[in-house]
Symmetry: none
Subunit: 491 residues, 2 copies
């Protein structure tokens, strides 16, 4: 049976009323075999959710070494789960948290798809802002709330479940799927890059599928064809060897918290322009076509501000909000720590002040050059009585995928089946540093197929994932194996 879907803008409903001559533009056709698979996906929705809930209970916080055993437990859980699907999964040790790898049987003549995802999660702080505890998954208003729900356990899991559905309903897949699930994405994928470089043959594939991004809006599925890069730092300033009484010493001893403020303030000017020497030299500017496409997207500035509870925005002068978020480099302070932070007043001149901050980069900026520029800017600002330590956490350049890739077209067809409408093509402000490495080492196109939504609160309290998106993600993934298999990958 053929199922015809019509894409109503901003709406997920489907109907089949359009005349035949519109088919090439508005209809997607699923193969008869795929229909069975999709039916099977639908029949498993309760079990799929129960399995995800189990995975979300594991506090696999990669940034905090206290949680290392839990990170490992999550990896083992995925190994076991892949095993229960009939796959031979491996837990691969690294110098940090382990990797999980598995693959379905090779299919001669068909392309190979590599699914990349991560099972580690961000720290859940501040805990008191969570309505229900971060590692006790709870369903409210059609969403599952838990740390990692959308980033990335829930999204990554859709591909395991689609492969499971193919194996159960059809016993084979129309192409080979490889899984590479890591546990260090939230701390910079420290050990993944060397693993990729050392295992090019094992991992060889035609496209890499990553679901760790968002739809453009509810009812507007998207393919992300560009990502920003990142350069993340921690700056420690140390003054006197102990906290001092601000009355007895204040004015006579350099205050590291004031110097920190001066340094951070010097990094960006009042027009949102970053002041690092050479920072903009390599930036690829937005094309007129891209700016036009961004402007055509249903982005409501007022609704955006209302949703965030703000009375307006600031940013780099001369750019729209979407341009600033997706395609312009930025500076953000992510954390500040110094002196007394308890209740009330304490008259202290702190011994130390620290900041965590990042630059988001666009293609063709090099994080190493950013570090050089940062040192050039900061070093002359270190006054007498202060020592500076700059920790260079991790860096990755930005990336843009060619818009004419056949894998992008196949993914668009799968989304049309799974979500009931064609996706828009967008860029994303976040970074998935490893995307560059995949593109470089495997010479594969990277498909960023995000099932999340912008209000999923990833990296924040009350992270959630919409149950309908979880289900649509599994359906799309199931359809993706079908549509990718049809590509003549030797063409």
């Amino acid at each position: 049976m053929q199922t015809l879907y019509w894409m109503a803008p901003l709406c997920g409903n489907t109907r089949a009323i359009l005349p035949n001559h519109h088919i090439t533009h508005f209809f997607a056709v699923s193969s008869p075999n795929l229909d069975q698979i999709l039916d099977h996906v639908d029949s498993q929705s309760e079990q799929n959710l129960a399995d995800l809930t189990e995975l979300l209970r594991i506090p696999s916080i990669s940034a905090d070494s206290k949680f290392a055993p839990e990170v490992r437990r999550a990896a083992q859980w995925i190994v076991d789960h892949l095993g229960s699907m009939g796959l031979q999964a491996e837990l691969i040790e690294t110098a940090g948290h382990p990797l999980v790898y598995a693959e379905t049987p090779a299919v001669p003549g068909a392309p190979v798809a590599l699914v990349y995802g991560h099972y580690d999660v961000q720290p859940p702080d501040p805990l008191d802002k969570w309505t229900t505890p971060p590692f006790e998954p709870t369903i409210r208003k059609g969403r599952i709330f838990a740390r990692g729900a959308t980033d990335d356990k829930g999204q990554m899991f859709t591909h395991l479940k689609s492969v499971g559905a193919w194996l159960q309903a059809s016993s084979t897949l129309p192409l080979q799927v490889k899984f590479l699930i890591e546990g260090e994405e939230e701390v910079g994928s420290k050990h993944l890059e060397s693993f990729l470089r050392e295992n090019v043959e094992k991992l060889s594939s035609d496209c890499v599928v990553i679901s760790d991004t968002s739809q453009f809006a509810p009812g507007v599925p998207a393919i992300t064809y560009g990502l920003r890069g990142i350069a993340y730092y921690e700056l420690h300033l140390t003054g006197p060897n102990r906290d001092l009484h601000s009355g007895v010493f204040g004015g006579g001893v350099t205050n590291p918290a004031i110097v920190l403020s001066k340094m951070l303030a010097a990094i960006i000017d009042s027009e949102g322009r970053i002041q690092l020497p050479g920072f903009y030299d390599d930036v690829i500017p937005l094309t007129d076509r891209e700016r036009e496409e961004f402007r055509s997207l249903p982005f409501d500035q007022k609704a955006f501000e209302k949703e965030l509870g703000i009375n307006g925005v600031t940013g780099e002068v001369g750019f729209t909000t979407l341009e600033r978020r997706w395609a312009r480099p930025t500076f953000d302070v992510c954390g500040l720590t110094s002196g007394y932070q308890g209740e009330g007043s304490k008259t202290v001149l702190p011994s130390r002040a620290s900041a965590k901050f990042s630059f988001r980069l666009v293609p063709n900026q090099d994080p190493k050059k950013v570090t050089i520029g940062l040192k050039k800017l900061l070093e002359p600002l270190v006054p007498a009585g202060i020592t500076m330590e700059l920790v260079d956490y991790h860096g990755a350049p930005g990336i843009v995928i060619p818009l004419d890739s056949p894998y992008l077209a196949a993914a668009a067809d799968a989304i049309e089946i799974g979500f009931g409408k064609r996706p828009v093509f967008m860029r994303e402000g976040g970074s998935i540093p490893i995307v560059n490495t995949f593109a470089d080492t495997l010479n594969a196109d990277v498909l960023l197929l995000g099932w999340g939504q912008n209000d999923d609160n990833l990296h924040a309290p009350n992270e959630s994932f919409t149950l309908a998106d979880f289900q649509r993600g599994i359906r799309t993934s199931a359809a993706l194996w079908d549509s990718l298999a049809k590509i003549n990958h030797n063409a």
Copy 2:
């Protein structure tokens, strides 16, 4: 018999060899009666130490409500002790911890001195850093170690003991002494101010004697004739209604931690000048004489830096370290809080950023005007997307006692007798807010006569008080009643 004392610089030894014509400059003359008193003080030194030890055993920690009965027990102990000296002492209830009040008989024609001190102590934490328990007074290397030894039980007690010596040896004092000893100094003297304002007549006096500060250095007794004031604030900036992913939103949403840095940086310029409008308008500049006196003090800049572990200092251009610490207004950030402060990196655009900071004020600055200037500076710096809340914690103006005060001169004479050398005149960078209230409500000169030393570890583990300073303090106090009584206070 007259005893002549010569003040050897940095040395407490006494001898009587100088010719008579130097007496007006270098000699202090004690009355025959005072000699008997001082002899009596010396004869009582063992008993005085035993009594102090008893008081130090009482854990009168005002900040911790668990210890409220102990705080009261200390107050009652002092009442009883004053009673044993022959005085009618009162335990005066407040809404918090009680006050102790007593007075010696009025002496017509002589000035009235009010002794202010406190019997409450700081919490002793961290307990494991104490060599011997904080409430088991122990003598080592000529010091008594206990919480409250120097701050303020030991120092305050010198005045009770000197009055006791006068009463025992002479049965009368040459002037009236009033005692007001409180139990809430370490928690902000919450109930003292209203008591002062409501009891002006009872407390009326010509000078207020407070021993709750330090000597300039070992062997360099000092009178503190100036204190800085304070204006303390907490600034909260709120941006989006939750922490956001710095990749997804960074560049498009105003970052409160960056705005905070900009604001703090704007408060003080690169030359250490505070940028609040009108901030310096009311500042009384240092006189040439004061600057000269400060320069003559044995202050070793290199040793100061070495002790603090710093390679140099910065501060308001054009002033020395002592000037900056004692007599110039300053700005210090006391605490910073924003975003992620845990281990590792977290890519977050924080919802909130906060700072605690203070201005130290010099006479004649008004904390209320500082608040007005601060708002004038900060309000125009609030950008779109940020709301600002400024909490005004507490303020107190600075104070300087006129250097030509006859009470200061009398105190210097008494120190010359008690310590064997003339005091230096110093200022102090900290604030004792209640000093202003005494000066205002009683219209009295305040004598800050500190017997402590900078390494007494007040507010820290292993607090101590040098036994020799305890003894010298009692002798000085005994001499003070004599020298103050000679002032023609109606002149």
